[in-house]
């Protein structure tokens, strides 16, 4: 009886109904919605694109590459939603020297082709956007930087993205990854600040910025590149935070590293830890028997 009552109450609650409906939606659509929201908000409020041609190039190259390679690899064109997400992510994150468009084209190609080339047991290892940006930063730091735009350093914008991001992460079932990483970042970088006698706020400040919002909602939670199992996912998120702290430690010390590591420690933490974790996870996967 009580079960029946609970079900009825849930049915009457529009929020609960929306939540239930959302659970039936392909997670990629929710992620695509969120990143589109970020793009539109950033453009309307901050004119962050500068020109629409970079959006067209990034999206065009990502989707064309996906269509071509999937047709070549599988004999059919796959759903292009993930290419769309990569294209928008690259548009948001890449800031080239001058008005150059080639980083968007090359970044788009690298992102999508990495899914088809850098594979293990039929799975790709790197988040496509993460791979493309890491490669561009390493290969062409004189021509490419990451997210010069900070979305106005505005609390309201941050809150909107955090709110939608957390809701969607919860719905997609990856919020534990997001929260673990954020907690790890705060704890480890707080400890780093204390260890070095540095003020705490500058060390934890980056987490309030847009680059990190894109990182925690679109990169480390990429359903195709995270490991299987909630516990393992939490461990990997912690390891990524640890790796980032090590990179920042090296930056604090001024140890010689490619500039790219100083510029985007989080991206390189994911780019190094993520594929290894995924490879180990896949290696342990029991081969499918027919």
């Amino acid at each position: 009886m009580s079960d029946v009552t609970a079900t009825t109450a849930s049915d009457r609650n529009p929020l609960a109904r929306a939540w239930q409906r959302a659970s039936k939606i392909d997670p990629r659509y929710l992620i695509a919605f969120l990143i589109t929201l970020v793009l539109v908000a950033a453009q309307v409020r901050y004119h962050m694109l500068g020109s629409y041609d970079r959006l067209v190039v990034a999206l065009g190259v990502c989707m064309a590459t996906e269509a071509l390679l999937s047709w070549f690899d599988r004999g059919r064109v796959v759903n292009l939603l993930s290419a769309y997400i990569s294209g928008i992510s690259l548009t948001l994150l890449i800031k080239p020297q001058g008005g150059a468009l080639w980083p968007f084209a090359l970044g788009g190609f690298l992102a999508i082709s990495s899914k088809y080339v850098l594979r293990y047991r039929e799975n790709h290892l790197w988040n496509p956007t993460n791979f493309a940006i890491a490669a561009l930063l390493l290969a062409a730091p004189d021509r490419v930087s990451v997210l010069s735009h900070q979305f106005g350093n505005d609390l309201t914008t941050n809150l909107v993205i955090w709110t939608f991001g957390l809701i969607i992460a919860a719905r997609v079932g990856v919020i534990h990854i997001t929260l673990t990483y954020v907690a790890g970042f705060l704890l480890l970088n707080g400890a780093r600040a204390l260890a070095f006698g540095q003020p705490l706020l500058p060390e934890i400040a980056p987490i309030t910025g847009p680059m990190y919002q894109l990182f925690i909602f679109f990169m480390i939670t990429d359903p195709r590149t995270v490991v299987r199992g909630r516990r393992k996912q939490i461990i990997v998120a912690v390891l990524i935070a640890v790796m980032e702290t090590l990179i920042r430690f090296a930056s604090d010390k001024g140890w010689p590293m490619p500039t790219a590591f100083n510029v985007a420690p989080a991206f390189f933490a994911l780019a190094t830890v993520g594929p290894v974790a995924k490879w180990i996870d896949l290696r342990r996967k029991r081969p499918t028997t027919n």
Partner: protein, 563 residues
Amino acid sequence: MRLDRGPSRAAADAAHPGFAMRDETAAAGINFVHHRPTFDSKIAGIEPHVAALGASVSVTDFNGDGKPDLYFTNSAFGQANALYRNKGDGTFEEVAASAGLADLNKPGDGVSMGAIWGDIDNDGREDVLVYRYGYLALFRNIDGHHFEDITEKAGLRRWVNSNGAIWIDYDRDGLLDLYVTAYFRSDIDLWHLKTTMIMHNSFEFATNGGKNLLFHNLGGGKFEDVTDKMGVGSTRWTLAAASADFNGDGWPDIYLANDYGPEELYLNDHGKRFVLSTAGLESESKSGMAVALGDAFNSGRLDAFVTNISERGYLFQNNNLRVNEMSTKGRFRNVAEGAIADAGWAWGAQFGDLNNDGANELFVANGFISADRKKSYWYAMSKIAGANGRLFEDAATWPAFGNASLSGYEPSRVYINRGVAGWVDVAKNVGVTDLYDGRAVALADLSNRGAVDVIVANQNQPAIVYRDYPDSANHWIEFKLIGTRSNRSAIGAEVLLEAGILNQRRVVDGGSGFASQNDRRLHFGLGSREWVDRVTIFWPSGIRQVVTRPAIDGIVTITEPER
């Protein structure tokens, strides 16, 4: 003298720039060294950043002898500003103390950040306004040798943390009005801070800077604050301003380069008010450091070059070269690409025809803070730059600077325009090799020989005078304008020169670039052209004057007709 240009009149390129520049600072007897200020110990952690401005240079002919003189500002208490009188033999004599323009950096008054010269009372002698982190200071030129402080009497004793000012006759009444840009809020005394919440609240859209001010020249040496009435009180951390009639309606407009925000264009509505125009400037927020005006492509219009910050891997804000399409499309179009977009951490810039070939070159000073070469503040900056605005608005939140460099030891750039092949940096080829932290750049023909010399004021470092040696086969012409109905300095007058297919415009400078002011005389290179067809002068009064076939290879003085 031919400078590696080959026998034909081929366009200049990197291998054959058509000019050379030589550092002749010492030979000229100029030994000015800028000293940066020190502030309240509450912001000691980021003092190198806050105190990284103040080296300025402005060109004047304060004694009216027809030879351009130079005025440099200093920024530490007790350090003197310098006024170099041009002796006409290639050397200068420092006379600031006897002129009464040396001792301007004092506790309670503030420290100098720059100066602009203009004849505010139309008596034929150029007066000077010194803007400071502190009180404005206006000096009347008494006799061509001595100056009288008339700040109080003029109604200008206002505390403004300013990095820029321009003269502009916005209402065309023949008297120079004053526009002062403000950086830090005007309620902030950097030596006695009540709070450390003094920094920008956004790296991109900050609006918590000081309020820019417009003062109307009432005549009789008095000024009136008309900022609110005219609608030009931007609080966007303005670092530089420049003025010209961008939309061709006959009224001078104001172009602002704002740090931590988009540029702004205030269009003059018939001297009654200014209207903030988007004009395509809002499309990308950057860190505007300077605004130089010049006819970049010989279109007969004044384009704007705005410097910004670029740093390998970290940040590409990219300089803007904005082509003026105001008359036809109501907007500017940014065409900066490649080398010209990325000069480093760019500061002052100026357009000038350094090789006299009839096309403008562009000189850009670079470098922010040169300290320990092995330590960079960029990593620390990257942490704070992405943060929420409330965090870095507090100067106490910033990571301590220590002895780190921040885009230090960057070379100046000298770009030549190769047309469709784009702009190319020829600084090393022509002899511009210093690694000082350049701030202000001013241009002047210091020896009246038809060459555009470049004077650079460097932050906390010695100033440099680069003498220009253009291809002697090229012709040139310069104009000295004397206003009658317009202000006597002719500031704001625009000259359109037509010589065959050459069609180039320049404006008499009331302050431009970063903390600088060029020679009021206008220099045009002519290349192999042996005559000028026509010169049209658009006087600030609205009078349009046409001069045909003026003599070339010399300085032509033109006085404004009475009607």
